[in-house]
């Protein structure tokens, strides 16, 4: 790794994941061997924060309920927040899903919403804090043992999981599987296949129908995942560019950068919550579609 800090290396350092995978010589996290890993590589940093924040969600919500499972006692503190978020999700599920009874939808929507919100919120942690900390910790702990860690900057560490398309598309993929599952179990396989093949041109144009419907069908999870990724990636990118103003420029531009950072952070709070909400709402909507048995 070049010890010289340039604009390009700074940006690429922030946009590269810590990737571990299997190469010909065995498992490694060496950033220069990512090309050899192929598909079976893991973004350890994304998964670390993703699992960590998911566990935080489970821990906080579980604690809130175990602390006060008596309905005769008024809720307090964290439990109020937990119940508020559940009420919020319940309302959304009610309005989007209507009367269809499915006990999985609401927990799914809650998990997706809180989890994505937490992951998005990592974007508000100043861009250099955690990567630099992680780099130094890795260097101190494993600097001698691991051959590719040559300095604190050898370790790539991307903090916001939702700026990793693998994470957002992974979740969209999970939801896609659920929509297929419910489409088949609720409508029946025949109706599901008919839905994909008999529209919009009737039964004599089945191949064309299938291609068109398939595009429509596949586009949903991909757009779901990429929307979240794109918004957060762009937000992260702007934070990085603003951070560059602080490091590589004169004092007036540095001050301007500081102001811009504040403004963008405030605006980004909106995006963070909005994207989490959109992801949740679309999740509910797609699953609601899977339950609709429409006659054409």
């Amino acid at each position: 790794m070049a010890s010289e800090l340039t604009t390009e290396s700074y940006i690429s350092h922030h946009l590269t994941n810590l990737t571990c995978g299997k190469t010909a010589e065995g498992w490694t996290c060496d950033p220069y061997k990512v090309d050899q890993m192929g598909f079976w590589a893991f973004h350890v940093d994304s998964l670390f924060w993703s699992i960590g924040l998911g566990a935080l969600f489970v821990f906080v919500f579980r604690k809130a309920i175990s602390k006060n499972s008596d309905a005769s006692v008024a809720p307090s503190g964290m439990q109020n927040f937990v119940e508020m978020s559940i009420e919020f999700v319940e309302d959304n599920v009610q309005s989007l899903f209507g009367s269809v009874k499915n006990t999985l939808i609401a927990p799914l929507a809650l998990t997706v919403f809180v989890w994505i919100l937490l992951m998005n919120l990592m974007d508000l942690v100043p861009v250099d804090f955690l990567p630099v900390l992680a780099g130094h910790v890795a260097y101190v702990i494993a600097g001698d043992a691991v051959e590719w860690i040559k300095g604190p900057e050898s370790l790539y560490f991307k903090v916001v999981p939702t700026t990793d398309p693998n994470i957002t598309l992974g979740m969209a993929f999970g939801i896609f599987i659920l929509t297929i599952y419910y489409s088949i179990t609720v409508k029946g396989l025949k109706a599901f296949v008919a839905e994909l093949t008999l529209h919009p041109f009737g039964k004599y144009m089945i191949p064309i129908n299938f291609v068109l419907e398939m595009v429509n069908f596949i586009a949903k999870p991909i757009s779901l995942g990429l929307r979240l990724f794109g918004n957060l990636y762009a937000g992260e990118m702007i934070f990085i560019l603003i951070a560059l103003m602080l490091f590589f420029s004169s004092i007036p531009i540095g001050v301007l950068g500081f102001g811009l950072h504040l403004v963008w952070a405030l605006f980004h709070i909106l995006i963070v919550a909005l994207q989490a909400f959109i992801f949740m709402a679309l999740t509910i909507a797609y699953l609601a579609m899977a339950h609709e048995t429409e006659e054409h």
Binding site: M37, A41, L47, F57, S72, V82, P107, L169
Partner: protein, 156 residues
Amino acid sequence: MNINATLIAQAVVMIVFVAICWRYIYPPILSVMKEREKRISDGLEAAKKADDSLEEAKLAFDKELNQAKAEAAEILDKANARASQIVSDAASKAEAEAEKILTSASTTIENETNKAKEELRQQMSDIIIDTTQKILGDEISKEKHEEILKKAAEEL
């Protein structure tokens, strides 16, 4: 920004978290919330009922109070009437008694007077008889004398 196995790992992680939430988090919290909602609405209803019954009790209390007041006034009136009756009865009785005492007293006085008169007359007649006997000796018999005296006494 490569697409790699992270995608599958994330999908698996998501399924795990959703399953945890579905199984262990959402239902207990929701049931507590539902139960509390029910408790609160029950409580409000009970409070409303209590309010209503309080109102009712107040009305009943007022009614009872008024009735009791009326009764008390009636009893008081009766007592007053009775008292004045007793007083007037006692007064008339006392008057009658007084009159009776007066009457008996005057009767007694009269009797005593008569008795005294009789006695005096008897004594006088004795004295007269004695004196006359002394003067006349035994000429006049006792029987004759008695007769004369009786006449004299009646004339007196």
